[in-house]
């Protein structure tokens, strides 16, 4: 009852605000880019599979690692903005 009321109020308001933003339309350009890129990667993979796997793996790991670290720093920064008792 109480929780439901709060959820209704908060998310209805947020829904309204977010709804004012323009809707993203996927034109498919990114999809075709990814498709083209994967075609080239696949072409190289056929004769250099280990190097291709290594490069893609490193890039993927780096993106995940750095994103997680950045997220951690942002959350930490936000938490430090809250006043504390001392």
């Amino acid at each position: 009852m109480i929780t439901s009321l709060l959820i209704y109020i908060i998310f209805t308001a947020l829904n309204y605000l977010v709804g004012l933003l323009p809707t993203i339309s996927d034109t498919g350009v990114f999809a075709s880019s990814v498709s083209n890129a994967s075609g080239y990667v696949s072409g190289v993979y056929t004769f250099l599979p280990h190097i291709t796997t290594a490069l893609l793996g490193m890039i993927f790991f780096d993106i995940v690692f750095e994103t997680a670290y950045l997220l951690y720093k942002v959350i930490y920064w936000v938490i430090r903005r809250f006043p504390t008792q001392s």
Binding site: I7, F11, T12, V18, P22, A31, V34, G39, A54
Partner: protein, 466 residues
């Protein structure tokens, strides 16, 4: 303690608190009882079977009427002076002399012929690779039809047909599956030695019957189960419900399966009832969320069970309706019978719900007062399904708007990458070069890359500050 205009002494505070707690418990009990209500609706339909005939489930039913050709069936009234039919014979069939009979049968059977009545024969003559020809047989004396018997054209091979032995006979206008291919408009001889040894393009219709007056007695009400579209004389045989007990049985929840299912059984005595089963599931929250017809067209087999998986987010606080409807396979708007079970999934402890926004009701009784308070607390503080739907709508909306939407586009497209991508170019490398040069180079460079990456990662971790 002040409460509005009233002053409440300390002694009464405890009593008031106790009263509130009791009311709270009663509130929880009310919730519990509301969800424990099970409305089980079940109706048994029983209608006497009217003799042996179309749609009568107490006899061995035929599927006449479902075939591509017109059949005679029962209920034929009048006198037949002649009949005619047409057919052709494929080139593979040896010369044969056949005769045609307007035959009748005492009992309807899919496997045996019962010559329990008089018949008239006509000799067709020798057939071999003839085009479609119409043959007319004159019956002398004219045949008086018996409305209680089945009639059909019975063609009999009176001499060798493709090396087969007599009688190589087939029947038109009845239900002999061993001879008839209902999908291909031809009739194969049992002694045929080739797939082309068939009689084909056999045509026959009621209009070729010559008698006066020609009439069919039968049920003429198209709302009846045993409606006979050929009937032009109403014989009062119509019935409108299934001639057997038809009901939903054994509704229960199966908590051991994944996903959870509820099961119901239904019973139809005949396997040949020309009906389909339609199932519709709905609840107070979602309306009709699942429906469909059975794929069986020849009839519904007798007692069986359907397993219905519970939807991903079951509605536990409202009614769920399970409707079973028997409809004509030819016309789905014709409803033979319908039953609806109304129930609530929360009425059984078998339902385990992991979905947020829904809580598992506790048993509330005099021996488990805690369950009452739990239910009451949940009634106040647990979010309702409607509230959770607002939240889910927000999540769905934000995924279509910037900036989250951009990430979703990237994510969705990246997820579409598969290992089966078509290479943008091809490179043919001689096998010996691949073995001697490319493979060692590939493995060596990859190893060096991973080594340097490990060093990079080590250095990166060293400068990370937590």
């Amino acid at each position: 303690m002040k409460c509005g205009l009233f002053k409440i002494s300390k002694g009464y505070q405890l009593r008031l608190l106790s009263l509130l707690l009791v009311l709270f418990g009663v509130f929880g009990l009310g919730l519990q009882n509301a969800n424990a209500t099970v409305l089980y609706s079940q109706t048994n339909i029983s209608t006497p079977c009217v003799g042996a005939g179309y749609g009568c489930v107490s006899s061995s039913l035929n599927t006449r009427g479902n075939r591509s050709h017109q059949e005679l069936g029962t209920g034929l009234i009048g006198t037949v002076a002649s009949f005619s039919f047409s057919m052709s014979v494929s080139s593979g069939l040896a010369a044969a002399s056949i005769s045609a009979t307007l035959a009748c049968y005492d009992t309807v059977s899919t496997t045996t012929i019962n010559y329990g009545c008089s018949s008239s024969n006509v000799s067709i003559g020798s057939l071999n690779n003839v085009a479609k020809t119409t043959y007319t047989a004159v019956l002398s004396p004219a045949l008086v039809l018996n409305p209680n018997k089945w009639y059909g054209i019975h063609v009999n091979c009176t001499s060798a047909c493709s090396g087969g032995t007599n009688p190589n006979e087939f029947l038109y206008g009845s239900n002999f599956n061993s001879y008839e291919n209902p999908t291909k408009d031809y009739f194969s001889f049992s002694g045929a030695t080739s797939s082309t040894d068939v009689m084909q393009d056999m045509g026959f219709s009621l209009s070729t019957l010559t008698e006066s007056p020609l009439s069919f007695s039968g049920c003429m009400d198209n709302m009846a189960i045993n409606y006979n579209p050929n009937a032009n004389v109403e014989n009062g045989s119509c019935y409108y419900t299934i001639a057997t007990s038809t009901h939903i049985t054994d509704l229960y929840l199966d908590a051991t399966s994944s996903p959870l299912t509820y099961t119901f059984g239904y019973q139809v005595a005949s396997a040949d009832l020309p009906a389909l089963i339609y199932i519709e599931e709905k609840n107070d929250r979602d309306g009709v969320y699942r429906s469909g017809y059975s794929t069986t067209t020849g009839g519904i087999t007798y007692p069986t069970h359907y397993l219905i998986p519970i939807p991903l987010s079951p509605e536990l606080t409202g009614n769920t309706y399970l409707t079973e409807r028997l409809v004509s396979s030819a016309d789905r708007t014709r409803i033979f019978d319908q039953h609806t079970i109304i129930f609530q999934l929360s009425s059984t402890t078998a339902v385990q719900v992991a979905d947020s926004g829904i809580y598992v009701q506790q048993d509330c009784s005099i021996t488990n007062i805690g369950g009452c308070f739990y239910n009451a607390l949940c009634g106040v503080f647990c979010p309702s399904k409607g509230a959770m739907n607002v939240y889910y709508n927000f999540i769905a909306t934000i995924q279509t708007k910037p900036p989250v939407g951009y990430f979703m586009v990237v994510k969705n497209n990246l997820l579409n990458i598969s290992s089966t991508s078509t290479p943008a170019f091809g490179l043919t490398i001689p096998a010996h070069l691949k073995t001697i040069i490319f493979n060692p180079f590939d493995a060596g460079i990859a190893g060096i890359l991973w080594f340097f990456f490990a060093i990079h990662l080590y250095k990166r971790l060293k400068i990370i500050t937590v």
